[in-house]
Symmetry: C2
Subunit: 141 residues, 2 copies
DNA sequence: CTCTATGCAAATAATTTGCAAGCAC
DNA sequence: GTGCTTGCAAATTATTTGCATAGAG
């Protein structure tokens, strides 16, 4: 499986969007807009404002560089993805960590759904909650 | 094996919760807390307050009579389900309608995920967005 | 100069919380 | 009376918008 791993060099990005993308690229965990804003404030001295962060995220999502994830707790989370890609998470209720599923099971069903319901899939949301390996050990202690 | 298909008669519900459950049972579409609140105000003369609606929904979800759905647009939607059940939706971006998937594809993967990632699934979220049959016809016009 | 990007403050919107009154048993 | 339920208003939180300034070409 040749995943043609060519991380498109982000271009045409505003300064703010670039800063946000960088900040987002430095963390492995999902981050909220406010997280990013906070992180930028600490790191740089000339950090973009919250408004800019929101606007930057909006365009980055639009451009496909960033994926938005909504875990239902009132704030959206973001993470960097390969342009056009997307993925889903295993969110641990114990430690709050989230790992990517290396494969999107929904796509396997797209054809079936299309033919069964006559529904053409444009996008989807899939997040799985539970207890990760590590936390299972801790809990059963 | 008697499939004992007895729609558990909701008991022990507060007046408010009962009203909310009734209102929710009368609509086929997903409804927001505010929707329900509005509907209750119109219908009855002695309608519960917004606070009560929120609190009722919270307990109904807890009890398993109602399922909460978050489509990522900032407000949670609710619908009545058989106690303990849950299901996912095909949400049409054209007309906003949403239909249930008659089967939860995620459950088929639970074992695979458990053994592959050592992750124990407690719950999950799956919503599919696209264009329904009807709207495809309209759009291609 | 002209246009887009940015930032601050104010505006929204959904939901939650504090607290006093109402009802059930 | 005691305790759970309710409702109103105020508080909270995330996000958006108005508007005026700063920066790029």
């Amino acid at each position: 499986m040749t995943t043609h791993k060519a991380t498109h060099k982000p271009a045409n990005l505003t300064k703010g969007a670039q800063a946000v993308l960088d900040a987002l690229g430095q963390v492995k965990e999902l981050s909220s807009a406010q997280d990013i804003y906070g992180r930028l404030r600490q790191t740089g001295e000339k950090a973009p404002g919250l408004t800019t962060v929101y606007r930057a995220l909006e365009s980055l999502v639009q451009l496909g560089y960033v994926q938005a994830v909504d875990l239902g707790d009132g704030e959206k989370l973001y993470e960097v993805v390969e342009p056009g890609e997307h993925h889903h998470h295993l969110v641990c209720e114990g430690c709050g960590s989230s790992n990517h599923l290396d494969q999107c099971m929904v796509e396997e069903f797209e054809d079936a759904i299309r033919s069964k319901y006559g529904f053409q899939i444009k996008s989807h949301v899939l997040e799985i909650f539970g207890v990760c390996n590590t936390c299972q050990a801790k809990t059963s202690r």
